[in-house]
Amino acid sequence: MMRRTPLYIVCSPRPRVGKTLVARLLVDFFLLEGRSVAAFDFAAEEPSLIDYLPNHTSRADIADITGQMALFDRLIAGDKTAKIVDLAPASFEPFFSVLRQIEFVDGARRRGIEPVTLFMADPGRASIQAYAGLQSRVPDMVLVPVYNEAVAGGRRSRAEFPLARAVSVPIYIPALIPLLHRHIEKPPFSFADFRSTPPGDIPLDTYMELHRWMRRAFVEFRELELRLLLHDVQDSLLRDDTSS
């Protein structure tokens, strides 16, 4: 069985819930695993994903069909490259509307790509409604809630983000101690580079703390990847059973 190429869409209809942080972590997660990765940045405000990881990120804009082709045709290319989309709130509706109209999820699966939407959960009404809307509008897509501990009340609202399938187990991003923010918020910044070549001016305990935080986040991603793999194996066994 061939391993599916990952495509993660990190999104929320609301700003400042940690989308770009998750997208950055994901890019670096794949880089540290030695896998090729391409990221797409919708954000209009700086600093955005492209500022942090300029070598791996392209700007995306789907306001017209040329931009839609530039993005979606690249996302569906069978190049074995993991893709990360950092979707800005303003592009949330148009993105999923196009995705649905062109039957992207089905087309991607047929090419061995598994689109997974990582939805930044927060207790705001707009988020709860958007999550429910996605579940009903794109029911065949894997939708995973992400609880960013730095967003107050996120985890408390778990009941508002019901899981549609076993593979959609939520992801938890631990809160980063305030002292570490200044180290990771100034672009460009790569967690992968930071881990392999720590800057000389950082105290050892700070470095270790950041290291632990990254590891916890990466374990969450690795577990999600394993759940997706298991889901694929189960699917293929089921197919074999029905065909025999």
Binding site: I65, M69, F72, D73, Q101, I102, E103, G107
Partner: protein, 242 residues
């Protein structure tokens, strides 16, 4: 013997999308495995033939030999459905010719099923065409097609005026062809293949192609909407030769 079906697609005005609608019809019948042949009356060079060369013949519908080629073969052609893409300006003339050769009489007797797809443009002239056509389509299935493919807005029409024209023809049915993204439309034109072939990512002759997934998605979505209109007016039942 199976009852022949003749579908005339036309308008007296040019540039309203007759050939586009004809292409969607040929794709629809092909997808439903209805054997169909087509005549392209844009003689000598037909646009329809470029997209559907296997089933299309270019004819000059104003000449008797070509009229014979179409109508004398209705009963013995393999394809029982005949679609005629009438050149701009020739709809009324063609209907008149059909009356003169007695075709409308055999339609009246129920020996042939006859449907007219009248493609409307946004101008008032299109409404006058309806009145002119009405005289000939009493026994036909008459479809008034508003073609929005090029984002046409039917702004010149006062709804009351349209209704008064529309109601002149008993059992006339309206069909709306939705807008298709300009670039998607253009790419299918460049590819010179049926819409269905474009969606399947194939080139002329069935060779593998590399069209944009996005454009194919838009074409598939649009074609699905057009076919939903055909389903709504029960086109499959009309084309059924039983």
């Amino acid at each position: 013997m199976a009852k022949p079906v003749v579908i005339l697609v036309g308008a007296d005005k040019g540039g309203v999308g007759k050939t586009t609608v004809t292409r969607t019809l040929l794709d629809y019948f092909s997808a439903h495995s209805v054997p169909t042949r087509a005549f392209d009356t844009e003689s000598p060079r037909g646009t329809l033939k470029r997209f559907h060369p296997d089933v299309t013949e270019v004819v000059d519908v104003t000449t008797i030999p070509d009229q014979m080629k179409i109508f004398d073969t209705l009963g013995n052609a393999d394809a029982k459905v005949t679609v005629i893409d009438v050149r701009a300006g020739l709809l009324s003339a063609t209907l008149r010719a059909l009356r003169d050769i007695g075709f409308l009489d055999i339609v009246k007797k129920g020996q042939v099923t006859f449907a007219v797809f009248h493609i409307l443009g946004p101008s008032i002239a299109s409404l006058d065409e309806i009145a002119e056509t009405a005289a000939f389509v009493g026994d036909a299935k008459y479809f008034l097609v508003k073609n929005f493919i090029n984002n046409t807005s039917f702004f010149e029409w006062d709804p009351a005026t349209y209704d008064s024209y529309f109601n002149k023809i008993k059992d006339a049915v309206e069909i709306n062809v939705p807008k298709l993204d300009e670039m998607a439309c253009e790419q299918v034109e460049v590819a010179s293949v049926p819409f269905l072939t474009f969606v399947a990512n194939k080139g002329p002759g069935g060779a593998a192609a590399s069209y944009s997934f996005v454009l194919r998605g838009y074409v598939r979505h649009w074609l699905g909407n057009v076919w939903a209109e055909f389903d709504r007016v029960k086109l499959k039942d009309i084309a059924s030769t039983k």
